[in-house]
Each structure stands twice: as C-alpha cells, then as structure tokens.
Amino acid sequence: MTRIILFKTLRAIITLLVAVTLVFLFIRLSGDPAVALAPPDAPPAVIEEYRQRLGLDQPLWTQYLSYIGGMFQGNFGYSIHTGRSAPSLFMDRLPATLLLGLTALGISVVLGVTLGTIAALRHNSAIDRMVMSFSVFAFAMPNFFFGLLVVLTGALVFGVYFGGSGATRSLGQLLAPAATLGLATMGSFARFTRSSLLETLNKPFMTALAARGVPFRRRLLRHAVPNAAIPVVTMLGLSLGGIVAGAVVTEQVFSWPGVGQLLIRSVETRDIAVLQFIVLMIALVMTVTNLLVDLLYLALDPRMRGGRNG
C-alpha cells in the first residue's frame, strides 16, 4: 500500500519536472528572449545589457539550474508590462477563477449525476433518450458559441447584459458563465454515471439481492450506488482539465476577470514570465489532482490495493 502511494507520488513529481523542463526549453528555443524583452529599436548595447541581466550569456545548463533554483526561492520573473511579479498578478486573478470554476464544477456534478441516475433507472425510456441526447449536445456545443447564445438571450429576453466587466456582481452574473463552463462536463457526468450505474445494476450480485427479497430502495442505495460511484470519482479528476480549458474561453466571452483572461492577454502581449507561471500552476494543480484522484480510488476500491500498480 505504502509502496503504491510512494510510486504514484514519484510519478507525479517526474511528470511535473518534465513539464517544467519543457517550458524552460520552449522559452529558450523560441528565439532570443533579450531581443523580445528589450524595446523594439533598442541599440545592441541595450540588448546586451538585457542579456546579461537575464543571465542569457551563461551556458544553457547553468541557466536551467538557476531557473529551477529560482523557482524554489519563489522567483518566477516579472511582467514586462506592469513590472509586477508574475505570482502576484496570478493571485489577483485566482479568486475570480476559483469562484467561477468551482461553481461550474458544482453545477455539473450535481445536475450531471442526477440526470445520469434518472436515465439509468428509467433505462430505454423517453427520459433516458432525452438525457443521452443532452449529453451529445453538450459535447458538441462549442462553449464560446453557447456563451454568446447566453449573452444574446440575456440581452434580448431578460434585458440583462452578461458580458459586462463583472463590476455589478449578482447571482445571474455568476450563474450564466458558470453554466456555460459546466455544460460539457455536465454532459459527460450524466453519460458516465448512467453507464456506470447500468453496468452495476446488471451485475449478478444485484439479481442475487433481488432474489433474497432485499427491497429496491436498499438495493439501490446500499449496494448499487457505492459500486457505481467509484468510476464516477475518476471523472472528477478528468473533468478538471475540461474546466481549466473551458475557463480560458468562457472568461473571454463573459469578460470575467480571472486567470484565463490573464493568460490570453499575456499570450497576446508575449508576457513570458506571466505566461509561464500560469502554465506551471495549471500543470501543478492538475498533476496534484490526478494524484489525489488516484489515491482516492485506492481508498475506495480495495481490489486496486493488492495488485500490480498501474
């Protein structure tokens, strides 16, 4: 058990280290950062000064070590536009993104699991087909298009403008982008819950319970749901990637002042320090989440413990 946990933790650390190395290599490969950072028509002497200040005259290996070393000291560089440190810009935006992302995740888990459960219990009924159609719809709908539809409907039908700067925060101003962001995830939760529950309901032990006269309610809540819930838990980890990716687009459509908007702006302005910090934070959060989901899976499913580590 301890070995599996250690093994999985080690794997997560290696994953992160590879991600950091790739980010470093890409930044160095993309051309001379000194030229990119210096003013457009700077004389060679100024560019040379930038190069020395950034340590770019050192060999690549030394640069890499000081890059990693700098990270452990919390030195992630400064925004070339505002002059503020990348982490402080990031932290400014984080609460807005957390609010949006967690609301979206909450909506999609609660509604998705409910819809999936109803569909499984009413297998092959009209409501089952409706839930499945909804999940296909949610998968194929581009979130930027759905977001624009929400903004348009809000403006034309309800006379509310959802694409504002977020200065006037009301519940609707939060729910409109959160529903847009959670739509795709909700569809996959519904689909996944349905197939997992159906599979469990058709297992021989469920038939055996019915034969012993265990009432339906008890069979469902005590026996089917705990078994069906295990794979759904892994979906939670997988869906985080969808939420992060969706937030980048959704924040743009609704002018939501979060990390996604900061990411797009730093891509447009080539603000490399900010950009790299956001990418590294996303990699960190997702690796840690994947690790936690793996460990949770171990805790929930005893069969995973004894066997070969995946």
Binding site: R11, I14, T15, L16, V18, A19, L22, V23, F26, I27, L29, S30, G31, R129, M132, S133, S135, V136, F137, F139, A140, M141, P142, N143, F144, F145, L148, L149, V151, L152, A155, L156, R191, S195, L198, E199, G241, G242, V244, A245, V248, V249, Q252, L263, I264, S266, V267, E268, R270, I272, L275, Q276, V279, I282, A283, M286, T287, N290
Partner: protein, 287 residues
C-alpha cells in the same frame, strides 16, 4: 458513405442518416460553396456593410448578409468551412498516426521506451491542449503550419494509451504466437497482423477526436490566436462578429451553428460506428 447506406438504410437509425446527410452537405459546401455567390471572400463593399441576410427578408442581395467590411457571408462561410475542415482532418490524422505509433512502440518495446512514452502521456494529461497551444503560439510566430501541427497534438495521448492496451492484449492471442513460430519478423507481425486488429480502436477514437480538433481550432481562432486574417475559418468569422453580437447576429450565429452541427453530426455517426464495430458496447451508448 452514401453507397453503403442504400443496402442497409433501414438498419441505420434516422438520426445517424440525418447526420450523414448533413456531413455530405457540409463537405459539398466547403468544396463548392464559393460557386454559389458572385463575390469573393475577401472582396469588400463599403456601400454594403453589415447588411442583414436577404434570405430572411431584409431585401439585401446578399443571401446571408455581409460583415463590417461589406464582405459576402456566403463566400466567407464556404472558405471558413473549407479551412476548418482541412485543419480538423489533417490535425486529427497527425494525432492519430503519431499517438498510435507511440502506443504500438510502447507495447512492442516495453522497458524504458514504454516508461518514457507513458511519462509523456502523463505530462500531456497534466496540461490541457489549449493551454499548450496558447503557450507555443505565444513563443513562436503564428503560422498556419504551426497551428495545424499544434492542433494535431490534440488527443494523441488517448491514441497512445488505447493502442498500447489493445496491442498488449493482441500480443497474447494465438495468432501472434503462430506467426512468430512460422518465423515472421517483428515488423511484419506488428504492421501486418497486430495493426489491422487494433484498427477498429483507432477508427472509433478518430471519430471522438475529430470534433475535439474542430472545437480547438474554432476556439483558438475565436480568441484571435488561431487562423489569422486574411485567411478565415468558422471560428475566425465569429471572432470578427463577436463585438456586433446584438446588431449583426448573423456574423456569430451562422458560423456557430455550422460548427455545432458539424461536431454533433460527427459525434452521432461516431457513436453509431462504435456500436457497430464493438458489439459488446451495444445498447450502452446512444443508438
């Protein structure tokens, strides 16, 4: 596709036939749509800016209206559909070949090669592809080739995992041992015997991945970081129309609907194909 449907048309669900029909129309529109209109997709007409679609009774001679520079939307949608389809198909092919080969190699070589490939899969799983694409696009100059390559990386990790697992299980089957006993070389066994057997897995994953590449390209172009003007794509048209959402709805709703229907049709056909190819899943997914 159409030839196959005539024989067993009755056995194909209506929704799937409808999707196939839409896909055929979409491809035709992408190929020949520019013939439907006398205007070029870059041809501006300052006297005809933001005209509402004539189709819906605005009296404009432009059937689907014009954009802020008076460019004909029929021509722009046709070229946009062309580029979106091209990027999606080429991108998905790149990812399919790249990911499948890595999966095959991982299963064939095991050991360190396998560990390295699976670590790469883990790294990809820790970063959504749109974030990777945005990062690389900021680092390098945005070019069409770079964009297609980046989009090609969508979902490669899914192919690698699926093909690796399918190959590992195929390796234990009797026919592989038989081939080896008969003296077949490793390359022959993998390419001639195992690859065709895991082909269904790849084909089904292709139909899952194709809508994802479409959504990635259109999202990047919508953000203004994908296909660049003067070239256009369905997402790029939406990006230009976004600020006029309320007074020129046709610039966003028409390309948006096309993207949605395209992704939807491919998913529906893909789900049906999966049920056909893998009878064990029948009835578990939507028909």
């Amino acid at each position: 596709m159409a030839e196959n449907t005539t024989l067993s048309a009755a056995r194909i669900p209506f929704v799937v036939r409808l999707s196939m029909g839409f896909l055929a129309l979409f491809v035709l529109f992408a190929l020949f749509g520019t013939w439907l209109t006398p205007y070029g997709f870059r041809e501006t007409a300052l006297m005809h800016r933001l005209e509402a679609p004539g189709l819906f009774g605005s009296g404009s001679e432009y059937v689907l209206g014009t954009d802020a520079r008076g460019r004909d939307l029929v021509a722009r949608l046709a070229v946009g559909a062309q580029i979106t389809l091209l990027v999606a198909v080429v991108g998905t092919l790149i990812g399919t070949i790249f990911g499948s080969l890595l999966g095959l190699i991982a299963a064939a070589r095991r050991g360190y090669t396998e560990a390295a490939i699976m670590t790469a899969v883990d790294v990809q799983l820790s970063l959504p592809i749109i974030v990777v694409a945005l990062f690389v696009l900021a680092m390098f100059d945005n070019s069409f080739t770079l964009l297609v390559l980046l989009i090609g990386f969508t979902g490669w990790e899914a192919y690698a995992r699926l093909v690796r697992a399918a190959t590992l299980s195929a390796k234990t089957q009797g026919y592989v041992t038989a081939q080896r006993v008969l003296g077949a070389g490793a390359a022959r066994i993998y390419l001639r015997h195992i690859l065709p057997n895991v082909f269904n897995v790849i084909l089904v994953q292709f139909t899952v991945n194709l809508p994802l590449t479409i959504l990635l390209e259109t999202a990047l172009s919508f953000l203004g970081l994908g296909v660049q003007p003067p070239m256009t794509s369905l997402g790029q048209i939406m990006s230009e129309g976004r600020d006029r959402l309320l007074n020129a709805w046709w610039l966003t709703l028409l390309p948006g609907t096309l993207i949605f229907l395209l992704a939807l049709s491919i998913s529906l056909v893909g789900d049906w194909l999966r049920d056909r190819l893998d009878p064990t899943l029948r009835g578990r997914q939507i028909a």
